[in-house]
């Protein structure tokens, strides 16, 4: 790390914490490039189905590599790196254990490599979405989370202030809850036939809502006040969103299987709590947006723009999830490409933009090096325009697909009608991937070179350290 060669900059963080944060970010970025390149191949296969006809490049194998890769090899370690940094800095202390952090990162990468290779050879855990990695691979991942929880708790336990900063509620809670999610999904005894449908409904949504959502919100609660140099609008609103998200989210999983043979009351319960989710979603989003109000001059050319996109995607994507869960709209959208657009609005527009906002805001503070505004801007616009094209094309196309089915058209008509939307999706995906290349370049500058971070004091009122 070269920050020590730049005396006069803001006080650099202790080298160990910086190295850990940078390593998690770099590792995650490598997987982002791989997993989204795979995503781009998948998108093109909808328009050119005979592109790369070989077992290792087949759609059915690559799809799980894309989803699991983006979930567990990109977004997870990137958010864990941010969580470790936020835990140490907000506690005014160092990291509890660098060894735990290194072992956890190594385990995540071992899991990602084993999981990806096995999937490409055709070994998956039963086409169960987002848990296709073989059971022992997911056990390695779960163990890495146990080490991470230990490290995070050890770090905040030695904090200076009496209060536990809100970010840590979200991030450490996410790690602890997700250990439970992974274990529930691993044990086989109650996953037979329809029983597995129920567990899959539970898993699909809890893996997202109890893991990525609270981690990303935890990053917002730390990075946004830092960037805008003002406290979060309402600490209490953040606490309300924390507890309501905790209680409402675990109950809505069955909405992935509406009109299925799952018990009707379970489906109804899932719909009710899908609507209840508006409370934490609107509460949380309003909190961030009200923090940003009137701060246009600070938002401009700031990583806060990534957070703005992230908050809006969180608001729209989650509200969209609520609407999709209504029985009157399910017949139009369920099982169509609309759902894929929804997944990308949330996992990309919300979670991935949250990571970028966090990395651009905090990594330069750690390393003392930053990427030029122009490069960050190019990344921002490529990814933003790309994801808008992606989500819009699949939302419109998916609606047409559902309406084709409803008017009783021959099935193949719904395939033919999708062609232009699939092409636009691939174009949007291409822009997104180009953005990732720029992001990787920017990460390399923030870690190994680039401009010296300005010495501007970003100490924010109401945020520790």
């Amino acid at each position: 790390m070269a920050y020590s060669e730049h005396p006069g900059l803001r006080t650099p963080d202790e080298p160990m914490l910086v190295r850990v944060f940078a390593a998690y970010t770099v590792s995650a970025t490598v997987w982002l490039l791989l997993a989204t390149f795979v995503g781009l191949i998948l998108a093109l296969k909808f328009s050119y189905p005979d592109l790369f006809t070989a077992p290792a490049f087949s759609f059915g194998r690559l799809r799980a590599i894309h989803t699991n890769g983006t979930f567990y090899a990109w977004a997870s370690p990137a958010l864990i790196g941010l969580a470790l940094f936020v835990a140490a800095r907000s506690s005014g202390t160092g990291l509890y254990s660098a060894s735990l952090a290194w072992v956890a990162l190594a385990l995540i990468n071992v899991a990602a490599i084993c999981g990806t290779v096995a999937l490409d050879l055709g070994y998956n855990a039963g086409d169960q979405e987002y848990r296709e990695w073989l059971w022992w691979v997911r056990a390695i991942l779960a163990f890495a989370l146990v080490l991470t929880a230990w490290n995070l708790i050890g770090t905040v336990a030695s904090r200076r202030d009496e209060d536990l900063y809100l970010s840590n509620w979200y991030t450490i809670g996410a790690v602890l809850w997700t250990i439970i999610v992974l274990i529930v999904a691993l044990l086989p005894w109650y996953q037979v036939g329809l029983g597995q449908v129920a567990v899959q409904g539970y898993f699909m949504h809890n893996a997202v809502g109890m893991w990525f959502t609270p981690l990303a919100l935890g990053v917002f609660y730390y990075a946004l006040p830092k960037l805008l140099n003002r406290p979060i609008y309402s600490y209490s609103l953040g606490i309300l969103a924390f507890w309501t998200n905790l209680v409402f989210y675990p109950i809505l999983g069955a909405h992935h299987f509406l009109f299925s043979p799952l018990p009707w009351w379970l489906q109804t319960l899932a719909i009710v709590f899908s609507v209840a989710m508006l409370v934490p979603v609107i509460g949380g989003s309003a909190n961030f947006l009200l923090t940003m109000v009137g701060q246009g001059h600070r938002m401009h050319r700031s990583p806060a723009m990534f957070i703005l996109v992230g908050v809006l995607a969180y608001l729209f994507g989650s509200a969209q999830g609520t609407v999709e869960a209504l029985r009157s709209l399910q017949p139009v959208w369920h099982l169509t490409n609309y759902t894929v657009g929804h997944s990308h609005l949330t996992m990309y527009g919300f979670v991935t933009f949250a990571i970028w906002g966090g990395v651009y805001a905090l990594l330069p503070q750690a390393t003392g090096r930053r990427a030029p505004d122009l490069a960050i801007g190019i990344h921002f616009w490529l990814s933003t325009i790309g994801v808008i094209i992606y989500v819009l094309s699949l939302s419109v196309g998916g609606t047409e697909q559902g309406l084709d089915w409803m008017r009783g058209a021959p099935f193949i008509q719904s395939v033919v009608d999708q062609a232009p939307y699939w092409l636009w999706r691939a174009i949007g995906g291409g822009l997104m991937f180009a953005g990732h290349l720029v992001f990787a370049f920017n990460v390399s500058l923030m870690v190994w070179g680039g401009l010296a971070e300005q010495a501007a004091d970003r100490r924010a009122a109401g945020v520790p350290a």
């Binding site: 039963g126 999610v181 999904a185 898993f203």
Partner: protein
């Protein structure tokens, strides 16, 4: 533990305890309860070969584009009766699916029972359905000089066939097709009063007549995968319907009986065809069969007398 960390334990321990309770309530308990769902009437476990085929289905990720769940919605009625809990008793891993880029496969064994079509379609979907975007699975097949004794080659049309040799299904392709053909919903015993059994005309239906739009739509749904959207078929596998003597015959009896009961091994104009046609008697109504036949009899240069639902009913009544 210091007093300093009491709030840490309260927040993280409390929320984790709440979450553990919810995870058990919404994940584990429904799992335990529903794992014990008994098989429905007529639901049987798979044979060893079908189970091996199901493993191929999982391994190749078929479930990402094909559902195996029929919802109680009009949208899904073409795929079968609504799925019931007992249908899934022997289905682990569950393959209900979350996307329907391709059609639902709950009843593919009824809809598409011909092994020849299945093999051609797996080897290269676009050899039978030009608009299909399904991946081709040539690695489930082998290229040989001569098919083994007693077996026949997969009749892949020229543009898709290898330059040298012929295609024969490998063990994995045979197992997969055995599994697909086993995908048939056991029928539901329904009270006669609300019977929607195929064959019965819907109550209050308009008098029999040729609805050209319905005929074209039904043909696309039920016939075009083999006979082609333009009725051209696949030479040597699925007969062309354009100019076909049965389709153009003044007496529609043979055509009606072919649609009702299926057909295999028929020689037409001196050519034999490898594909087998499934029976449609139990799948669609007399009116729908009449609409399909009338579409065939008035398209692609065919000009033959039209039929009515009553004609179909008359043939259906005969043994």
């Amino acid at each position: 533990m210091t007093a300093h960390n009491r709030n840490l334990v309260a927040i993280l321990g409390g929320s984790t305890a709440v979450y553990l309770a919810l995870a058990v309530m919404m994940g584990v308990l429904p799992g335990i309860w529903l794992s014990g769902t008994p098989p429905g009437p007529g639901v049987a476990p798979l044979t060893a070969e079908q189970a091996a085929g199901r493993a191929v289905y999982v391994s190749e990720g078929c479930a990402y584009c094909h559902t195996q769940q029929v919802r109680p919605l009009a949208t899904d009625s073409g795929f079968g009766r609504p799925s019931a809990p007992g249908d899934f008793a022997y289905q682990t891993p569950q393959l209900l699916g979350s996307e329907r880029t391709g059609p639902d496969l709950t009843n593919i064994g009824n809809r598409q029972p011909g092994t020849v079509w299945q093999f051609m379609h797996l080897y290269q979907p676009r050899s039978v359905v030009p608009q299909s975007i399904m991946p081709a699975f040539p690695w489930l097949f082998e290229v040989v000089d001569q098919p083994p004794q007693g077996e026949s080659a997969v009749p892949v049309p020229k543009p898709f066939a290898p330059a040298q040799g012929v295609i024969v299904p490998g063990a994995r392709a045979r197992a997969l097709v055995a599994y697909l053909l086993a995908l048939k919903q056991p029928a539901w015993p329904l009270p006669a009063a609300i019977s929607t059994a195929p064959g019965a005309s819907p109550p209050g239906a308009a008098p029999a007549g040729f609805d050209a739009a319905a005929g074209a739509r039904l043909f696309t749904s039920h016939c075009a995968v083999c006979h082609g959207a333009e009725g051209a078929g696949v030479p040597g596998v699925f007969p062309s319907l354009a100019g076909d003597p049965v389709v153009n015959a003044a007496d529609p009896a043979e055509q009606i009986r072919t649609v009702l009961h299926g057909r295999a091994g028929k020689t037409i104009n001196g050519a034999t065809y490898a594909g087998a046609m499934p029976p449609f008697a139990d799948q669609i109504s007399d009116q729908q069969i009449a609409d399909i036949i009338d579409h065939e009899r008035s398209s692609w240069g065919n000009h033959a007398p039209l039929v009515t639902a009553a004609d179909v009913a008359a043939q259906r009544a005969q043994p």
